[in-house]
């Protein structure tokens, strides 16, 4: 999703005049080579792949992420987590087509380095003939599928934050916060990183599929959230073990499968580069699972299933910014490192500080995302098997990556803090203590997950 620029068409006349867009199946159209070079091409293979990839990212959220998180909470809060993931996804979809796409991935006049404008409000002016550029010169995909693909990213990012304040935040506050957060954090950061005129894009920061925009962003927002809300009642004195690691494993598996849409889809075409993202999404995840297990097994004496699936997600996060940029061996190294570092973070650092990041969103998505973003700057090096970028110098690239990460951390941290406070004033962040004790399922949603 290193978005280059959207093609702006002079008018529909050009499209209508070009037979490639007539979409008459079965009609053999002879286009001379000169004409093919001159006119952007839409390939049905690309379009089919992007539709598939987009749907795979939806699978990551519902039910993937929802089950992954759901299994980790106590049985009395199972539905609240499923509900939050599901409804956030729906709200973000509406937000995205009303103004999100316009603000995040379109030109913004004077504020263009930071945020887009309102030129595409309600998707104004977009038709089935509208095309978006890919990374290959002269290859385009329909703008509608581009919008949808990006929409799923806007959906999953706030849903990831849920894990930070799980089991204690009011449903109304969750939804209100996510609307504000998406508007004031996600959209500007997505614009800065992925839009051709964006600040971080211009700096040359590499973020193939959203390490900064999605994972660091969500991780920081979750960290700020869990600190602002405070720990769950009884934490850490009471044990709060996951209520169903079976659900969590199903969720993790769906996340992995869906992540191929997320990472490989970010190439916007179906070509060789896409397959690099595919293989990296396999092996980085495997490396991370084994990395996490190795330190856990040697340190605690037990190789746990939760460790295996947590390691897998850490690897998926770390390879996200790197997916189409590093080589498969580099991806294994990056994944294994993420498994080890995230394990240390979740098992030691969190407890040392005492904050209650309930489902380790910061420990896995924040830390894994930072590691992945910095690591991308190193492993993209052709000498290390990466694809390289124009004028690559490792020191400079790592510096650029670090600055981009820092800007995202500061922006997201500060704005998220303000937004939590605003939501607290408007509707109150925390569920009442008796609600929290009884469980959000029954108190907030009026139903139980398991009626046995």
């Amino acid at each position: 999703m290193r978005l280059l620029h959207k093609l702006t068409w002079a008018g529909a006349a050009l499209l209508a005049a070009w037979p490639g867009f007539a979409q008459e199946a079965g009609t053999a159209v002879e286009v001379s080579e000169a004409a093919a070079e001159a006119l952007p091409t839409m390939d049905k293979g690309d379009v089919a792949w992007m539709i598939m990839a987009t749907i795979l990212v939806l699978l990551m959220i519902v039910p993937g992420l929802a089950l992954f998180y759901g299994g980790l909470v106590r049985a009395k809060n199972m539905l609240s987590v499923l509900m939050q993931c599901f409804v956030i996804t729906c709200v973000m979809m509406i937000l995205w087509v009303v103004y999100g796409y316009s603000l995040a991935l379109n030109g913004g006049g004077a504020l263009d380095p930071y945020i887009g404008g309102f030129s595409r409000l309600f998707l104004s002016g977009i038709t089935t003939e509208s095309m978006a550029a890919t990374f290959s010169d002269g290859v385009v995909i329909p703008e509608y599928i581009f919008i949808c693909f990006q929409m799923t990213f806007a959906c999953i990012t706030p849903a990831l934050i849920v894990g930070g304040f799980a089991e204690r935040m009011k449903f109304s506050a969750v939804i209100l916060f996510c609307i504000l957060w998406s508007t004031f954090v996600y959209m500007p950061i997505a614009h800065m990183v992925w839009y051709a005129d964006g600040l971080l894009f211009q700096m040359g920061a590499l973020d193939f599929a959203g390490g900064t925009v999605v994972h660091i962003n969500a991780g920081i927002a979750a960290l700020v959230g869990c600190i602002v809300l405070g720990p769950r009642i009884g934490y850490p004195r009471e044990a709060m073990p996951p209520h169903s690691l079976v659900m969590t494993t199903i969720g993790a598996g769906l996340l992995w499968v869906g992540w191929f849409g997320f990472n490989a889809g970010s190439n916007l075409e179906a070509n060789g580069g896409t397959t690099l993202a595919v293989i990296n999404t396999f092996v980085a995840t495997a490396g991370a699972t084994l990395g996490w297990l190795a330190v856990e097994w040697s340190g605690k004496g037990h190789p746990s299933l939760l460790g295996a699936v947590s390691g897998a997600v850490a690897g998926l996060v770390a390879v996200t910014p790197a997916a189409g940029l590093v080589g498969p061996m580099g991806a294994i190294v990056l994944g294994a490192l993420a498994g080890v570092v995230c394990y240390v973070f979740c098992s030691s650092v969190k407890h040392a500080f005492g904050y209650d990041d309930s489902l380790d969103v910061f420990g896995i998505h924040g830390v894994g995302g930072i590691l992945g973003s910095i690591g991308t700057g190193i492993l993209v090096s052709p000498a290390l098997g990466g694809v390289g970028v124009d004028g690559y110098a490792m020191g400079h690239q790592v510096w650029v990556q670090a600055v981009a990460v820092l800007i995202a951390i500061v922006w997201c941290g500060v704005v998220s803090f303000v937004l939590y406070k605003v939501v607290d004033m408007l509707v109150g962040l925390r569920a009442a203590p008796e609600t929290e004790r009884e469980g959000l399922d029954l108190a907030e949603h009026g139903e139980r997950a398991y009626v046995l």
């Binding site: 850490p236 073990p241 605690k300 746990s304 939760l306 460790g307």
Partner: protein, 112 residues
């Protein structure tokens, strides 16, 4: 008549049932319970965080036998439930005043 309450490790249940059946017990009640004795629970580890779980799963058997049968039943319970490791459970024996079979109205040892 004696009421015997036996707490045991869940995986011994089938052996225990066979053993008491072999010494003439014709019925018993079993429930899944949680508790702790000297074993005082076990440790679970989630993402590196250790939780001590005090209450561990056990099965509780309740059976009522004629006075004369109490000793062999206790012996059978002991032999079948024992693994020699901590957490094997405990048996309690209490006197029973009366027993009634609902279908026939029989009472005392006849009802067992």
């Amino acid at each position: 008549m004696k009421l015997i309450v036996a707490v045991s490790k869940p995986f011994r249940l089938e052996d225990v049932r066979e053993a008491v059946t072999a010494v003439g017990v014709q019925g018993l009640m079993v429930s899944e319970v949680k508790g702790y004795g000297r074993q005082s629970g076990h440790t679970e580890i989630y993402r590196g965080a250790e939780h001590v779980v005090n209450f561990v799963p056990k099965v509780k058997l309740v059976l009522v036998v004629p006075d004369a049968a109490a000793a062999p039943v206790i012996e059978a319970l002991h032999a079948s439930a024992r693994t020699g490791k901590i957490g094997d459970g405990k048996n309690f024996v209490l006197p029973v005043e009366e027993a009634v079979r609902v279908r026939t109205g029989e009472s005392g040892s006849e009802a067992l």
